[in-house]
Amino acid sequence: MSEIGGSDLFVLEFGDILHYYTPYTTTLFVLALIFTGLAILSRPEGQVDIAFGGDAYYAKETAVSEMRFRRFMTIACGLATMGAMGSGDIFNFTLFASLVGITNVGIVAAVKSRHVLDAAYEYGIVAMVATLPLFGGAALILATTGTLSIPALAAGGFAVPPIGKALLALGVIGEGMAPFYAAKAEMFRAPGAPYVIMCSLSSLLIFLRVVEIAITI
């Protein structure tokens, strides 16, 4: 197996499905773990906004019920991201990636602001549409090679179609929120830094993982 992320440090077998951790995937896993821990321990900030037309400013407060739901979604997102980091099976990876997309929508959809809800709705549509290339790419690789095991594909002897890899990467980009919405003003109207950051982090981590998968297979 090509060791672009370094040699295997640990392999966790579930029958014929396995999770493997190289220095690369371990780094990504640990980062997901740290930020999930920070989301559990942190309270949301009081986002300060300026009231136009005067010198006044105010700090937004996050209701406890909203905070609880968004924290739950953030923890679920962190767990899905950690799962995607170690997965040695492309099908499992696509499932974890789509779960990241769903939980990202949940993190922002709980904010009681019309602008933020609009953005969450648009993001939900993109994430839903992105499942087509995501699972389509995996299906194409399975149909061509007969396996979705990353170590088996990396061992050689299979002609993995580049279009399958490209579709997989496209699907991951669509599931991750960062490329589409993380920089939009609508998203940043949402207070709750520990939760919003998980959207960016999870998007980035699944992208970094799919890069490794695409090069490895």
Binding site: P23, Y24, E45, V48, I50, F188
Partner: protein, 281 residues
């Protein structure tokens, strides 16, 4: 191990001080002494420190530690000759750290610094293209293999100059006072750093020092090859001075222009790597 970290942080801060000095002299100003950034870090270490009332306290503090942690890890990855894919990942994850700095305080200045950090993610893609191009030549991403390849075939700086230019631009986009430094633009006070003061700001200085050292050292290792440590330090200084000249004579771009130019560079680099993939056996 700790001595490597301290040396890298101090030397990185010294390079940042030199950066400010060169920019000032090119612009016919006296400029601060070269050790100014080290003095800043020391000064902030002993200044009054607290957490703003509006901040998400755990995240506000935690993100400083994460920043120091990831760049310390990056330093040891480069020194140990590990995979440059990890270095690439850490470089991209630094965006999340900047984002965390900006959002955690609740300040609008920090928040917009964080937003600009996310939108300037286009600057990371040339680094990915660099990684892909090197893999086409070496078939490995381990730094030890890359330096071994260069020992036989010559430095990558001569084998694939456009890839070296791409990484040079990546480092330029991370340096302060450069054309792409939109995250610390003066209309945002200090951008994502605005609300971190006292010992937290000293932590950010350590992150900046480590980041500068790691990126320049990685550039030397990837594009020049294995050289004695003192020679690597000299080459790093020369590269930094050249970057300072670019920063001194180039105005800071608007966020839109910055992202557009970085996107164009990415497009050119993707075309180059596509060409390499096509022509290489």
């Amino acid at each position: 191990m700790i001595e490597y970290l301290v040396f890298a942080a101090v030397f990185g801060l010294l390079l940042l001080g030199l950066h400010r000095k060169v920019i000032a002299r090119v612009q016919m100003r006296p400029g601060p002494p070269v050790w100014q950034e080290i003095l800043h870090a020391l000064k902030f270490s002993f200044k009054s420190t607290w957490v703003p009332k509006t901040a998400s306290a755990t995240l506000y503090v935690g993100v400083v530690l994460v920043g120091i942690g990831i760049w310390s890890a990056a330093l040891f990855i480069v020194l140990a000759g590990e995979s440059i894919l990890i270095l690439f990942a850490i470089y991209m994850l630094h965006k999340v750290v900047e984002h965390g700095f900006g959002l955690s305080s609740g300040s609008p200045y920090g928040k917009f610094g964080g937003v600009r950090s996310v939108i300037s993610a286009a600057s990371e893609i040339p680094l990915f293209v660099t990684v892909a191009a090197i893999y086409l030549f070496t078939g490995s991403l381990l730094l030890a293999d890359i330096t071994a390849y260069q020992a036989i075939h010559g430095p990558f700086l001569l084998i694939a100059p456009p890839v070296a230019i791409a990484m040079y631009l990546v480092i330029l986009s991370k340096l302060p006072y450069g054309p792409f430094s939109i995250v610390e633009s003066k209309e945002l006070v200090s951008g994502y750093k605005t609300e971190h003061f006292g010992v937290w700001r000293a932590g950010i200085s350590v992150i900046d020092g480590l980041k500068t050292f790691v990126l320049l050292y990685a550039f030397v290792a990837i594009f020049v090859g294995a050289v004695p440590f003192w020679a690597a330090l000299v080459i790093m200084t020369v590269i930094l001075v050249s970057l300072s000249f670019v920063c001194a004579i180039t105005p800071m771009l608007s966020p839109f222009d910055s992202v557009t130019i970085q996107g164009l560079i990415t497009g050119v680099m993707l075309a180059y790597v596509g060409y390499l993939w096509w022509v290489m056996p």
